[in-house]
Each structure stands twice: as structure tokens, then as C-alpha cells.
């Protein structure tokens, strides 16, 4: 009925489409962008709540780390002056927590000179003579609070830790810092790293990438379609369907007040290839049938007669598959799933209205040159012969390959690292590598010790426990540096006893510890110890700096601490708890992987049930699911064999496989069955389906989708590259199994399928 209307009143249909488009497009100015991967978790997720509480209690902020490297060493008046100057200028950047900057010229050291206790930063003034410089060098490198944290042991690199009020401004502040050090002349090299910077920069670059990649994908799609149909008049409707479904979906999302997040920024790139699929079927069929009938309305009626059902079902299964993501615990994934589902239905609606309407308006003369092919493809015929005649061999080979792929899946390693979202030569990646080599690590996580009462942390046994745990962690190859209040107490004890090595330890009495801390607080600023203990000394915060941001490595460190605690019980009444961005990321990853897996498995069953309803045949439903199953297992198997980590982008991909993989099989089965009902001949139906228009359309779609994602490979951010390659391979596998494997299965199981 809709189709009849579109055929009779094409201009009205186009007019209505235009109106709707304007309404959706008018929502765009309201767009709000959210680039924080942390928002993948609900704001009330316990780990996020704790993380924010820790940040507030300990006055901790996310850190940008700036490294200054000079090959002949940083201990010379010139470089030291630059460090001091950069520190001063960074302090004035808006959004930087000036009081908490950790730098040679800002962080207090406790020393004794001529019997006088001095609390001041080592680089309070720039040393002039060589002896002066040498003295500073000794002061810093002999001090565990500075060595490997602020200066590398070999003296070639220094670091400044720059706390910022919130992660969202990391990129902006980073640019300010870059401006400051760029203005410095000399042999020093500068490197900027830190998780907040990586995450925020990723967000900033993501949108740039999408602005380049989405049009590229659109352009490539158009070129592919043109090669298939050679008529701009035929390509254009498909392209318009793709564009409008993207536009409507984004408009609806923005209009309903959702922020554009990392996930939803990918909607256009995902939706476009899926959206053209239906139109490609229609155009393909139209293209084959037109030369025979030469009457647009008749051709279209026939085309939609055949295609209406399979198109509706493929769109529905795809949409339901995506909508099922709404069960995931991850808010952006929910939004993503629901709106892609909506977009798929938009695309379907446009395919059955706008496509026939615009085809009706094409001048018939322009279609005259369409020759149509012989309805058969030589290549496909060869395939078919092989898969039908040697069906057993093909099926057995397939099963064997499946077994190999399953083995590949078992080798998958769940891991992620936001820094690795950048290519190896990206400045953030380079800085990360260099800084983690010279200082104790740019990945700062926090291990919180919490006692029962105020002043619990001053108990010698607690401080000694922390010290012992730090010693244990220092042995761990992934941990570059740890810092805690124990280091401070030891330092004061050592200095007060005239740097007698004997006293480089934790005192045995609680009062002594209390008086040391009081002494330090008395001789410095009120928030001096805030990063290491809470206000009433109930909690202590141990900084654990990791050299790697891989979630796998953070997990290993967390596990080894748990093991240590099992073997060496914590002091009475003391609990520990991890926090910090690296820790947040592993919790997030667990939720993400589990959530995505659950959603995918759920969608898988929903799709199966839909197919059962559609075919009213158990075996047909099973058969239709097979290409999908194969392509998923193969794609993941390849990832496993390639040794690539199962990371956030791949997890996201897994939820999308269903929508793409199932379509080809539905088209194949549905049209085979239609033909079978019409002719009653099993062999004729199989040949018609495999060699004729249905398979040609499927092959075209496989190529469109497979290559359509390729532009993503040009992106400079690795998640997009991963997604592009993954979907390319997925579409090709799904196409291949449908064209090559399904006929063999149908041949073998024909008894059950009839």
C-alpha cells in the first residue's frame, strides 16, 4: 500500500521526506558533545563513586605528566632554569591546580644543613656554580621522594606532574603547556603524557576523524555503487537513503537531548553501509528486470512483491539485534543500540517510499541503455556447481575451519589501553614510551589504606606495613615507583638524625610519627600532605606508578597486591581499596566486556526466535543462523590468531556483528523458499537463487559493506582502523558463507528443509 502510494504520488512522497528531513536537521544546532570514556559507566556505578570520593578526600586530581629530556643531563643551570620557569608558567594556566604541582621547583624537600632543618623545594633558586649544581643533584638523586619520580636515575630526564581540575579540559590545558615549552629554545626535548590527556585528546580527535572518515565512507560507497550500476540515476536514490537515515537518526538523537559520545559518533559510519543494503537489493532487482519489462511501475511492483518480506525481516532482525543492546548496563551502548535500530528502520522506510518514488520520476529514456545481464553470473555458477556437487566436502571443510577458528577465539586476550588508541607515531604514544622509560611511570593509580579511627595511619605497624608493601611492589617489573607517607616519615627521621643511615626507617613510637608529621605540616603549607593522607589521618594514599597502561598489567599488579595481603595479613582494622584512572579502566573493561557479551548472546537468541517465527521451520532458522555464526567465529578467530587484544572497539564491534551477518542469509533463504513455493522444483529454486539475481545482490552487498568500511583504515586512531578491518572481514565472510556454504547445506539437508 505504501508502495502503491509511492508509485502514484512520487512528488508528494519526496515533498514529505523533505519536510521530515528539515525537522530533523533543525535539531543539529542543539548538539552536545561528550568525549569522556569514563561516561561509559553510569555516574552511580560504585567504582566511579569511590574514585570521585578519593579524589575529593585526598585532594587528588588527574595528572598530565610533562617530561624534559636532555641527552647530556638536566643538571645544568640552563635546563634547571627552564624547569623552574615552565613550572611557574604552568601554574598560571586556568584549570591547573597550582598548589599541587609536583616539580623540582614546587615540591618541598626536607633537608638539614648546619644543624638547621630546611623545608623547601630543591630547586627553590637556580644553582650557579658547578658545586651548587652537584649539591642539588646529590640532594635529589639520594632522595627516594624525588628519584625516579621527578628525576630519572641517570639524571637525563625530569618530570613535572600537572594536576588539572577535571579530565574534560586535559586536551585544552595540554595545548597551553605545549605553547609554553615550545617557546623555550635549547637542546631539551619535551614529552607530554598521562591517561587524562590520552582520553581527552582521543575525544577531540575522534570528531575530527569522523568529519573526515564519514564523508570518505560515503564517497567510496557511491563509487562502488556506480561501478555496479553505472547509472548515476540509480546510484543516487541509494545514496540519498543512506544520507537521510543518518541525518534523521542523528537529528532524533540530538533532539531528544542525548550527548554525542564516542559510541554514537560512530553511528554514521555504521549506518551508511547497512542503510544501502535494502536499496541495493531493490536496485539490483530493478536493474535485472527493467530491460525485460520496460515499464517502471510494473517492474517496481514485481520487485517489491519479491523483496518486501525479506527486506522487512532483515531490517527487523537487524533493528531488534541492535535494540537488544538496551539491556546493557552501559548507558552510551544503550543509546547507540536504540538509535542504530531506529536508523535501520528509517532506512527501510525510505527504501520502500523514497526509492520507488524517485525511480518513478526518472526519465525512461535514461534507462534505455540498461541491458541487464543474462541473470546469471559465470563466477557464481562455478561456485554453485562446486558447492552443490561437492556439498559434503564443502560442509566438512567448513566444519574443520570452524574448529580452527574456535581455537583462535580461545586465544583472545582481553586487554585495553587508551594510549594505544593512538598510532605508534602519534606524539602521545611517543611521549608515553619515552617517559615510561625514564621515570617511574605515567600511569598513576592509588592504593588507599583505611583505618578504623582518626590517627590510625600514625600507628607504626600500619606505616611499616605500607613500607613493606612498597618494597614488595618495587620488585614488580610493571611498577616503576611508589610514594607514600611512609617515605615522608622515613625521610624526616633520617634528616633529623643528621642523615645517619641507621635512622632511614620508620620510628617505633606513634608519638614520634605524629610529631614528625606535625613538624612537616608546621614548616610547610596547610595542604602539604594532602595527597598522601586524609585530613584526620584515618586514610593513607599510596601512589603506585605503572610503566604500562595496559589493563592487563594493572590487573596483574592488583592481583599481586591481593596475593601479598593474603600472605601478610593487614594490621587490625585496616582495609585497602584501589582507585585512580588505570584501576577505573579495568573495572570499566570488565563491565564492558561482560555487558557486550551478554548483549550479543541475547541478541543472537532474539534473532533466532524471529527467524523461527518468520520461517515457521526449525531447520531453516538454524541454517539461516549459520553464515552469521561462521562469520562471527572466523572474525574473532582471526583477531585471536593475529594476537590483537580484545579491547573496547572490538567489544563494541561484537554487538554489531548480528545486524550485518544475518541479512544475507535471510535474503537467500527467504527468496529460495518463495521460488520453491512458486515452482515446486527444488533444483530450479536452488539454481535460481544461487546463480541469479538474489545471489548477485548478496554479492554486491557483501562488497559494498566489506569495502564500505575500508575508509576507516585511513583514520589515525586505531579503534577506527580495527572497526574498519573487522567489519570488512565480517561482511566478506558472511557473504562467502552465504554464497558458497549455504547451498551445500541446503543440498545436504534438503530432506528436512522441504
Amino acid at each position: 500500500m505504501i508502495i502503491e502510494f509511492s508509485l502514484k504520488r512520487p512528488r508528494t512522497v519526496i515533498f514529505i521526506t523533505l519536510i521530515i528531513t528539515i525537522i530533523f536537521a533543525s535539531q543539529f544546532p542543539k548538539v552536545r558533545i561528550d568525549t569522556d570514556p569514563e561516561n561509559m559507566l553510569s555516574p552511580d556505578e560504585p567504582v566511579r563513586v569511590f574514585h570521585n570520593q578519593v579524589k575529593k578526600e585526598f585532594g587528588i586530581n588527574e595528572m598530565i605528566v610533562l617530561g624534559i629530556v636532555r641527552d647530556d643531563g638536566i643538571f645544568n643551570p640552563d635546563t634547571l632554569k627552564k624547569i623552574s620557569e615552565i613550572t611557574d608558567r604552568v601554574k598560571r594556566i586556568k584549570g591547573v591546580v597550582a598548589d599541587d604541582i609536583v616539580s623540582l621547583s614546587a615540591t618541598n624537600n626536607v633537608i638539614a644543613r648546619d644543624g638547621t632543618l630546611i623545608v623547601r623545594p630543591p630547586l627553590q633558586r637556580i644553582p650557579q656554580g658547578p658545586e651548587d649544581v652537584e649539591r642539588l643533584k646529590r640532594e635529589v638523586l639520594d632522595n627516594p621522594l624525588f628519584r625516579d619520580r621527578l628525576v630519572s636515575s641517570d639524571g637525563k630526564g625530569a618530570a613535572i606532574y600537572i594536576p588539572i581540575v577535571s579530565k574534560e579540559i586535559a586536551h585544552e590545558v595540554g595545548e597551553e603547556i605545549r605553547r609554553i615549552y615550545s617557546s623555550m629554545k635549547g637542546p631539551e626535548r619535551y614529552y607530554m603524557a598521562g591517561l587524562p590527556l590520552a582520553e581527552d585528546t582521543f575525544g577531540a580527535e575522534m570528531f575530527k576523524q569522523m568529519a573526515i572518515v564519514a564523508p570518505l565512507a560515503g564517497g567510496l560507497l557511491m563509487i562502488l555503487l556506480w561501478f555496479m550500476f553505472r547509472r548515476l540515476t540509480l546510484v543516487l536514490p541509494a545514496m540519498v537513503v543512506a544520507m537521510l537515515s543518518v541525518l534523521w537518526t542523528m537529528g532524533a538523537m540530538i533532539g531528544m537531548g542525548f550527548t554525542v559520545h564516542i559510541m554514537s559518533s560512530m553511528i554514521p559510519v555504521f549506518l551508511m553501509p547497512i542503510a544501502v543494503c535494502d536499496s541495493v537489493h531493490v536496485l539490483s532487482d530493478f536493474y535485472e528486470k527493467y530491460p525485460r519489462l520496460k515499464d517502471k511501475a510494473r517492474v517496481l511492483r514485481e520487485v517489491f512483491g519479491e523483496l518486501f518480506k525479506p527486506m522487512l525481516y532483515t531490517s527487523l532482525t537487524t533493528a531488534v539485534g541492535f535494540a537488544n543492546l538496551a539491556w546493557a548496563k552501559i548507558p552510551p551502548v544503550r543509546v547507540f543500540g536504540l538509535f542504530v535500530a531506529l536508523g535501520v528502520m528509517f532506512a527501510w522506510l525510505l527504501t520502500i517510499t523514497l526509492v520507488p518514488a524517485s525511480l518513478m520520476l526518472i526519465n525512461p529514456r535514461r534507462l534505455e541503455e540498461i541491458k541487464g545481464r543474462n541473470e546469471k553470473s559465470r563466477l557464481l555458477s562455478a561456485f554453485t556447481r562446486l558447492s552443490v556437487k561437492r556439498s559434503r566436502l564443502v560442509v566438512t571443510t567448513g566444519v574443520l575451519l570452524l574448529a580452527v577458528a574456535i581455537y583462535g577465539v580461545t586465544t583472545l586476550r582481553v586487554n585495553d589501553n587508551p594510549v594505544k588508541w593512538f598510532k605508534k607515531d602519534h606524539p602521545i604514544r611517543v611521549a608515553d614510551t619515552v617517559l615510561n622509560r625514564i621515570i617511574g611511570g605515567t600511569y598513576i593509580s592509588y592504593l588507599i589504606f583505611e583505618g578504623k579511627d582518626a590517627d590510625s595511619i600514625k600507628e607504626p605497624q600500619v606505616v611499616k606495613y605500607i613500607e613493606a608493601l612498597q618494597k614488595y611492589l618495587a620488585e614488580h617489573h610493571l611498577v616503576g615507583k611508589t610514594t607514600s607517607v611512609a617515605d615522608v616519615i622515613k625521610r624526616i627521621n633520617y634528616v633529623l638524625h643528621d642523615e645517619d643511615k641507621e635512622f632511614n626507617k620508620i620510628p617505633d613510637r606513634k608519638e614520634t610519627i605524629g610529631q614528625y608529621l606535625f613538624l612537616l605540616l608546621m614548616s610547610s603549607k596547610p595542604d602539604e600532605l594532602d595527597n598522601l593522607v586524609d585530613y584526620d589521618f584515618r586514610k593513607a594514599n599510596v601512589w603506585v606508578q605503572l610503566r604500562s597502561g595496559d589493563n592487563r598489567d594493572m590487573t596483574a599488579v592488583v592481583e599481586s597486591v591481593s596475593k601479598y595481603i593474603k600472605e601478610n595479613p593487614l594490621p587490625e582494622g585496616v582495609k585497602i581499596q584501589w582507585s585512580g584512572l588505570p584501576y577505573l579502566n579495568i573495572v570499566w573493561q570488565k563491565l564492558m566486556v561482560k555487558g557486550m557479551l551478554k548483549a550479543t548472546v541475547g541478541s543472537y537468541w532474539v534473532v533466532f526466535i524471529l527467524l523461527l517465527i518468520q520461517f515457521r521451520s526449525f531447520w531453516w532458522a538454524i541454517i539461516s543462523m549459520l553464515p552469521l555464526t561462521f562469520s562471527i567465529v572466523f572474525s574473532y578467530g582471526i583477531i585471536g590468531f593475529a594476537g590483537k587484544d580484545y579491547d573496547m572497539p572490538i567489544a563494541v564491534c561484537s554487538t554489531l556483528t548480528l545486524g550485518l551477518g544475518i541479512d544475507f542469509a535471510i535474503h537467500f533463504c527467504q527468496r529460495f523458499r518463495q521460488r520453491y513455493l512458486k515452482t515446486g522444483s527444488y533444483r530450479d529454486s536452488l539454481l535460481w537463487t544461487t546463480e541469479g539475481e538474489p545471489t548477485i545482490a548478496i554479492a554486491r552487498n557483501a562488497i559494498v559493506v566489506g569495502l564500505g568500511f575500508l575508509p576507516l583504515v585511513l583514520a589515525t586512531l586505531t579503534p577506527y582502523i580495527t572497526v574498519g578491518l573487522f567489519f570488512g572481514s565480517l561482511a566478506l565472510f558472511a557473504g562467502l558463507t552465504t554464497i558458497f556454504y549455504l547451498p551445500s547445506l541446503v543440498e545436504i539437508f534438503k530432506g528436512r528443509l522441504a
Binding site: 575529593k56 578526600e57 598560571r92 598548589d99 644543613r113 644543624g115 638547621t116 632543618l117 630546611i118 623545608v119 623547601r120 627553590q124 590517627d455 600514625k458 633529623l496 620510628p507 613510637r509 606513634k510 608519638e511 614520634t512 610519627i513 605524629g514 610529631q515 606535625f518 613538624l519 605540616l521 608546621m522 614548616s523 610547610s524 603549607k525 596547610p526 595542604d527 602539604e528 594532602d530 586524609d534 585530613y535 584526620d536
Partner: protein
Amino acid sequence: MRKYILIVFIVLLLCPGLSFGITAREIMAKSQEAFLYPGKDMKIRVEMRLISSSGKVRLRELTMLRKNFGPPGGQQKYFIYFHRPADVKGMTFMVYKYPQRDDDRWLFIPALNMVRRIAARDKTSSFVGSDFTYEDVSGRDIDDDRHDLVKEESVDGRDCFVVKSIPKKQDVNYSYKLSWIDKESFLPLKEEYYDLSGNLYRVFTAEEIKDIQGIPTVTKRRMRNVQSGHQTEVVFKEVSYDIGLTDRLFTERFLKMPPRRWIK
């Protein structure tokens, strides 16, 4: 001619700063005398609350003895005994304040039975870990700043001079200070410190003034770091002037054994 005198007279009336014939420097000098140098000596029991931005409190209780040596603006000696927190009870702290050079500071650590000299890094560093600086407690040389009378304004119904003091040398962590000086008692009722980028960062308020032995005394004050949210509240629980502190008290020997007579 008489008309002109009348005009000048009216103008003088309208500008009380001028009418008093007092300069900004004189206001600040008088204020320092009233605020930091009252009496020959003084003994106070102080309760100090350090309050974090999230409202958590560290309590400190101490007895402070102060003796003036020379005229207002001159040398002073301070002796501080900590009663609380419990684990630092018995810690003592002594400061010799000199007008033209760095302070001398000593600290006694009971756990080690050890007296240590502590370097006076600069006068704008924190006083015993509070939001007050040593300068806030013991004053700053009048001639280290250029003082300007900016305006007159009332604070809580009291008429005040508002003086802007700009440090002559860049040896402090603020660019200028505004002081609201009570015209009657010459006590500062409010002070605002502006950081090197010109933004407000510390605010002092005198919250309670009592007359003690005929001397108006700020018995409750607060210093708030508006940028970090941290603040310090100081309450004088007992105040007495001219109690006859001896010079001998301010020596290392008494740091270790504070005289019971002065410290209960």
C-alpha cells in the same frame, strides 16, 4: 576669600583621610601597633581550627607568649606551647622576629628530646601549617610596601580606611593587599590578598573584638583561601597583657622545659 576657605573646609570634611591629616603609611603603622604590638607582653590560649574545603577539621590548641623588645614595629619574641593534638603535646616552638632580617625559629621535638633550628624560608610561608603566614602573625615592615588610601567604607557599621599596600620588592606571593582599618581602634576588620595574576586568593576577617585590660583585641579571626577552599579559624580563649614575661624564658633551655608558671 572667606568663601574659598569655606570650600576648602568642606572639601576637607568630605575627605576624612585628609581631614585627619593622616597618611596611608601612618594608618598602617598605627594599625600594626594596635593589632600586633599591644601591651609590653602578652599571653594567650589559642584554639586553631584548620578546615579543609570539604569541611573536615584539624584542631590545634596552643599557648602563645609574646614579648616586645623595642618600639612598635621592632623586635619581638614568641614562645608557643602545643596542648593539642594529643600526640604533639609538649612540642614547643620559638620565634625571634627581627624587623630587617629573617626570623630565627626553633622547634622542640619531645619524642626525640631534641631542639632543632628551622630555616625561615620566607615570611609568607604558612604559620604552623595554617592559612595564616608568619607575616600575618608577626607583621611586615611598614616600609616594605607602598601604601595608598583608596577609599573609606564601613564594615559591619564601623567606619574604615581602605588601604592598598603594594610590596616594593617581588619577595612575596601576592601582588597587593587591601586592608579595611577601623578608624577608631585601628584594628584591621578585613583584608584581601590578591595573587600574582591579580585574582583574590586570601581573605582575612576579624569576627569578634573584645576589650581586654582596656585594649581592643581581635579574639576571633578567620583566614580563608578562596582558591583552595581551605580556611583557618583562630579563637583567643584567654588573653592577658603585661604579665611580666622575663627575657630568660625565650631560650632553648626553656623550650625543653617550659615553665609551668606560664603554661598550664
